[in-house]
């Protein structure tokens, strides 16, 4: 079955026709052609498909598209500001050597955002826990954790 669902995507309300069997990941990548969110496993293990729904990090591959109705969804595309400006978290990843192949990066950044939005001053343990649902095969995570710390510190320094 098909249905038009309405939700807020990266700050803007949209209407999109979705199939009943579509996942939110499929809706984003295929229907809305937002390919920043990645499919890494399709089974909720790798976190490459992480997006925020009402502020909570979820695996879009397991999230039925219809459930997004009425919700506030944020994808990696929503973090880049006007004039191509990277958000603090994105810039911190770039500056910390936290990006290698980059496939896990959007998901990682969103998990980090979910953490920093609720815990602006996280401990290293908090960061590890918040990112434990995101697999990375390239970096060994060390510089990713440094990036999140850097982003937290930068926000602290802002007025």
């Amino acid at each position: 079955m098909k249905k038009t669902i309405t939700f807020t995507l990266n700050g803007t309300q949209i209407d999109v026709t979705a199939d009943s069997h579509q996942s939110l990941l499929d809706l984003l990548r295929v229907s809305l052609r937002l390919t920043g969110t990645k499919e890494g496993c399709g089974e909720g293990e790798c976190g490459a498909c992480t997006v925020l729904v009402d502020g909570l990090a979820i695996n879009a591959c397991l999230y039925p598209a219809y459930e997004a109705a009425g919700k506030n969804v944020i994808t990696i595309e929503g973090l880049t500001g006007k004039n191509n400006e990277l958000s603090d978290i994105q810039q911190a990843f770039v500056d910390s050597g936290a990006i290698q192949c980059g496939f896990c990066t959007p998901g990682m950044i969103l998990s980090a955002k979910a953490l920093l939005d609720t815990h602006p001053d996280p401990s290293e343990e908090d960061i590890r826990e918040a990112l434990s649902g995101n697999l990375c095969r390239c970096t060994g995570y060390v510089q990713i954790i440094e990036a999140v710390k850097k982003a937290a510190n930068r926000s602290k320094d802002k007025p």
Partner: protein, 796 residues
């Protein structure tokens, strides 16, 4: 050490911002107009005759544009022994064999069509270990070789052998001898971005393939041969490499799915995209080669190694890919890690009905070093010598030539060993607590390319534009390791421009010069050296132009300057005379005369010179190319001799572990990684490589294993194939980069992509031994194995 402008700096990766914004495009994100989706039907038997394939129902499904099998397509043989086929015809030899494929208008329909294809099999008895496969009367995996000649057994016709000195003499002079058998499992590359490609023909029947590959030019060669097999003589393939979601060796061969995409593209006249989902990736993409190694080493009463005897047995799986060449790399540590006067090395490879294997980071070195460095620790103990001292005693030194003929230029092994020893407080004992201890292991790896093909070269083109920008065409592949950043730094440094004026073009066989492939940790080494050569040529050309154009341009500058500063007294300098090509320098994008006074008007922006050269009668633009071919040799695998690389990277890693003797858990408390890098080109890039490799090494040591039961992978998902997460990498890692400044390396640097995981597993195993006195010889070191070993120790 020289001072550099850009080398050694944390120059940001050019691809970083796009990746952070989700704007890097991987094969998964690519679309071509009119594109169809391909999907493959895999066998569900490990060994069976194909009696019949019924594709009729699939063909009738609306939206399906093609269904292919070996029966309606030309035979495509691939693999360096040509024993593999894109689509299997008479029989399947492994669980993942490709028997049919479809192209459809969307992925769902393609998947549905696959389910509608019915294959009738006649199961055959299978063999699943080399021993089974070598038994008298064992079923033959391949009844004939690719030339049709009948085979009588399952042993591969590949010979690896090394003999140096006199093994018997070595055994005679040994006071202490330790023998051990070690094994390593099937391990998956686990790239976060799975395998895939898009194949598209133009109306001239030339092929373009967007490929997840590390070998664009070798792939081009493979696919051109296939075009010929398909009746498309003299047609060409162009390989374009998009952003890769990691590779770790999985892109070093061409794969059945790529050939299938080509067949479907040709048949349908549409671009065909095939992408593996994660399950397909685990179950159907060739993993790291497993190994069984028997090693015997002996030393004299002083601890000097007298001999080393190594025998390797490999389960080759059903077809032959790079797994079968791991022994060629194993020759390196077997003959050259530490000094050993009498050595033999032999390897045997056997066909089975298990999955065939391909390259993965380290390519045989982790497998051999696992056995070698574990055995070294055992031998040290037998000899009553501290394992650090034992290694120091037998260490390699700069300038030596090893029994394999490896010419060691620089060697930081001593410094690496010492760094690890110091950081682990080794001298105060290797047992640190009731159930904790430290261990170490070292490595040797190629650091200056690796001549495993006839050519180990890399070409580069530097093209200058009117703005002083450098457009770089380089055929090496950025797969996340940071090649592009280092290439930008190398060009900027060698040429004398700013990094943000250097632009790397996409890797494309249509535009970039030939490069053998991004493997053997050769990326930075080759890119840097090629950049240096080309930059030198370009500088020559620039200074030639400057000789002609510089005086007039700076005169204009001077006039302008004097207008603004009427009292200005120019220095006494005959510019025309001073402006000779050999007296110019170019730094940070500015051309000036060396040892002339540093007046601002006496220098010229590169772009200005180039425009002056371009926009005039008989104008010219500048480009330079270089083809860097390193001074290394193609080793003879049957003699086990040849200087495989231009230089060698050494390293030592140490681990401190705590063993929970009730649960068998091994907790890593900390690790130390000391690597002989020659020169740090890009600190965050280098650290990222080592941390990342180390994490793979930890997984390799403690939990990674593709479990195969009668050829079927039992854990084809991340739920049951465990790789480290943030939780697992929660211990401090101390890094030490030993800069030995190698003259063969660009700016002194050696390749470091693979070393980070070579000694990790034996370092951990040695630490476990020192902690609780148990020796595990089969990876991964699971709690089950630890408990079993503790139990055995108790009973003994």
């Amino acid at each position: 050490m020289r001072d550099f402008f850009h080398i050694g700096k944390a120059t940001p990766r050019p691809d970083g911002p796009d990746k952070a914004a989700g704007k890097a495009h991987y094969i998964h994100d690519y679309e071509r107009p009119g594109m169809l989706y391909g999907k493959i039907k895999f066998s569900d038997h490990s060994h069976a005759r194909i009696k019949h394939i019924d594709t009729s129902r699939a063909e009738k499904l609306p939206g399906v544009k093609a269904v292919i099998t070996a029966n309606n397509t030309p035979e495509i043989r691939f693999g360096f022994l040509r024993d593999n086929m894109a689509l299997k015809k008479d029989k399947v030899r492994q669980y993942r064999d490709e028997v049919a494929a479809v192209a459809a208008i969307d992925p769902d329909i393609a998947a549905e069509a696959i389910d509608l294809i019915q294959v009738e099999y006649e199961p055959l008895p299978g063999v699943f270990t080399p021993h089974e496969a070598m038994k008298e009367g064992a079923p033959l995996i391949h009844e004939s070789d690719p030339r049709g000649r009948p085979r009588s057994h399952n042993i591969l016709p590949l010979k690896y052998h090394h003999e140096s000195g006199d093994l018997d003499e070595g055994k005679r002079t040994a006071k202490h001898i330790v023998e051990g058998e070690f094994s390593t499992p099937l391990v998956q590359q686990c790239c976060m971005g799975t395998a895939g490609c898009i194949a598209e023909f133009d109306m001239n029947n030339n092929l373009t393939l967007w490929a997840k590959t590390q070998i664009p030019f070798l792939a081009q060669r493979d696919f051109n041969r296939v075009l010929s097999d398909m009746g498309l003589k003299e047609k060409n393939t162009r390989i374009i490499v998009p952003a890769l979601g990691g590779a770790f060796g999985s892109g070093l061969d061409t794969h059945a799915y790529e050939y299938i995409a080509i067949l479907l593209a040709f048949q349908t006249g549409h671009p065909i995209k095939i992408v593996y989902n994660r399950r397909e990736e685990f179950a159907n993409l060739s993993p790291r080669q497993s190994s069984r190694t028997r090693i015997i080493q002996g030393c004299d009463q002083n601890g000097k190694l007298t001999f080393r005897q190594v025998d390797v047995l490999q389960d080759n799986g059903a077809y032959t890919s790079w797994g079968a060449t791991y022994p060629s790399v194993m020759l390196m540590p077997a003959t050259s890690l530490y000094r050993v006067p009498h050595i033999t090395f032999d390897a045997k490879l056997v066909y089975t009905n298990n999955t065939y294997c391909q390259a993965m980071r380290g390519y045989g070195n982790p497998e051999l070093t696992w056995a070698l460095e574990s055995n070294m620790a055992e031998l040290a103990e037998r000899a009553g010598i501290d394992p650090f001292e034992f290694r120091m005693l037998n260490r390699n030194e700069p300038g030596e030539i090893t029994p394999m003929g490896l010419k060691i230029s620089t060697c930081g092994l001593k410094e690496c060993l010492e760094a690890v020893s110091e950081k682990l407080d080794w001298k105060r004992g290797t047992k640190k607590g009731k159930n904790s201890g430290v261990g170490m292991a070292s490595l040797i790896h190629v650091g200056g390319g690796g001549r495993i093909y006839r050519s180990d070269a890399s070409g580069i083109i530097l093209k200058l534009d009117d703005f002083g920008n450098v457009n770089v065409f380089y055929g090496g592949v950025e797969m996340g390791q940071g090649l592009h950043a280092v290439l930008i730094q190398s060009v900027a440094e060698a040429l004398g421009v700013m990094p943000d004026k250097v632009f790397i073009n996409p890797t494309d066989t249509g535009t970039c010069p030939w490069d053998v492939g991004t493997h053997a940790s050769r990326g930075a080494f080759m890119a840097g050296n090629a950049a240096i050569l080309a930059a030198e040529k370009l500088r020559s050309k620039i200074f030639e132009l400057a000789e002609e154009l510089f005086p007039a341009e700076v005169e204009k500058n001077l006039k302008k300057h004097q207008k603004k500063n009427p009292d200005y007294e120019p220095p006494d300098l005959d510019i025309a005379n001073a402006a000779k090509r050999n007296r110019f320098d170019l730094q940070e994008g500015y051309i000036f005369i060396k040892d002339a006074p540093p007046e601002p008007w006496l220098r010229m922006d590169l772009g200005r010179l180039l425009r002056a050269a371009h926009f005039r009668p008989q104008g010219q633009m500048l480009t330079a190319e270089a083809f860097y071919d390193p001074p290394n040799e193609s080793p003879d695998n049957e003699k086990g001799f040849g200087n495989l690389s231009a230089t060698y990277a050494f390293g030592t890693q140490g681990a401190e572990v705590e063993v929970d003797i009730e649960t068998g858990d091994v907790k890593i408390l900390r690790m130390v990684a000391a690597h002989d890098v020659g020169k740090t080109l890009n600190p965050p890039g280098l650290k990222g490589q080592i941390y990342g490799a180390l994490a793979q090494g930890v997984g390799y040591a403690l939990y990674e294993e593709l479990k195969s039961d009668k050829g079927k992978i039992q854990n084809p998902d991340f739920r049951d194939y465990k790789i480290p997460r943030t939780n697992e990498m929660d211990f401090p890692i101390e890094l030490a980069f030993i800069e030995t400044d190698d003259s063969f390396g660009p700016f002194g640097a050696k390749g470091v992509a693979e070393p980070g995981l070579v000694p990790t597993a034996p370092a951990i195993a040695n630490a476990i031994y020192n902690a609780v006195g148990i020796r595990i010889r089969d990876l991964p070191i699971t709690p089950e194995k630890v408990l079993a070993a503790l139990k055995n120790k108790k009973m003994a």
